[in-house]
Symmetry: C2
Subunit: 198 residues, 2 copies
């Protein structure tokens, strides 16, 4: 095994996901993942802290994509437009990877500790998004609220996309989720507007 | 020690929180919590599965309060009104307990595993809230989106209240967070409205 392994991180992630799907997360060892990827255990640990982190590895990239998309929206645009741009860019990271994302979600859904980790990562994404909105001059609590609600909408849209056959445009599904959320909150005031909810 | 201990669950929860605040969560044992509450370890385990669960014990009650408040709103009211009623009722559970809630939050914030558990509980609250909205005839994905965004707004409002001196009305703070969120999403469409965000 050479010291230089092209895309060892990516191969390890794919190997791990295959093994988790085949044998279950609990039953899979780091040694097996390394073997399937054709690298040493030492290489595994150069890329990931443990077998849980293989599923959550790309988070620095995620925060960067979010932040730069939010920052690239013209200064005069609304917080909602900036938020949407960030979440659409985030969705774009998964556009070509429906099957991978679906498998990953199934592995996470089957394990309580992975579900908790996923929630923590989503909370960190909301924090990154709120920071990016504050850098645009959006004040708190609006920045935090928009980011938290935006990530919630992202998650719901993303799960709808995963449940489908993968032909839908994930960015469009996320955009629709944000529009739908806008519809719920369209009244603005929480106690004034009364129409038939049926 | 008699078999009948009035409010042993509540006394254990208070004793646990005191000890976690004094000595740290990791350093506190179940034996110490039981001793401080004046009950046996056996009694502790009749009430809570482990020392983590002492901090998250009342969740069945929380789901019930949420569901019944959402259900009690007149059928013709908007989903937003029903959502608001649920979250205001949830906030009401903490109204007289600012110091307790503040201490509990500080203990949770200091420990990664407790933070993950808290996120899981909040996710379960969102699920309960979405169920209650669906029982009112709110369709998905609107029910899930409203519930997830609503819980996000609740959390932000609740944290603002905790950070304050405790004289504010927690229900009112949560209501304002929902209004603020409504302001962000007031445009409805995610790409149309353009005003100065500064």
């Amino acid at each position: 095994m050479g010291r230089w392994e092209p895309d060892a991180g990516g191969r390890l992630a794919r190997a791990a996901l295959e093994l988790y799907a085949e044998r279950g997360y609990e039953q899979t060892t780091v040694a097996e993942i390394a073997q399937r990827a054709g690298v040493t255990e030492r290489t595994f640990f150069r890329h990931y802290a443990d077998k849980r982190e293989v599923l959550f590895g790309a988070s620095d990239e995620v925060y960067e994509v979010l932040a730069s998309a939010v920052g690239a929206v013209p200064p005069a645009a609304t917080p909602l437009r900036a938020l949407t741009a960030g979440l659409v860019a985030l969705a774009g990271m998964f556009a070509e990877r429906h099957e991978h994302a679906r498998q990953r979600q199934a592995v996470i859904a089957a394990n309580a500790s992975l579900r908790e980790r996923e929630l923590t990562k989503l909370a960190a994404m909301a924090t990154a998004l709120a920071d990016a909105l504050r850098r645009r001059g959006v004040a708190d609590p609006a920045a935090t609220l928009a980011a938290e609600a935006g990530i919630a909408a992202f998650r719901v849209g993303f799960e709808l996309w995963l449940a489908g056959p993968g032909k839908a445009d994930v960015a469009q599904v996320v955009r629709e989720a944000l529009d739908e959320l806008g519809g719920v909150f369209a009244g603005g005031e929480t106690s004034r507007r009364v129409v038939d909810a049926g």
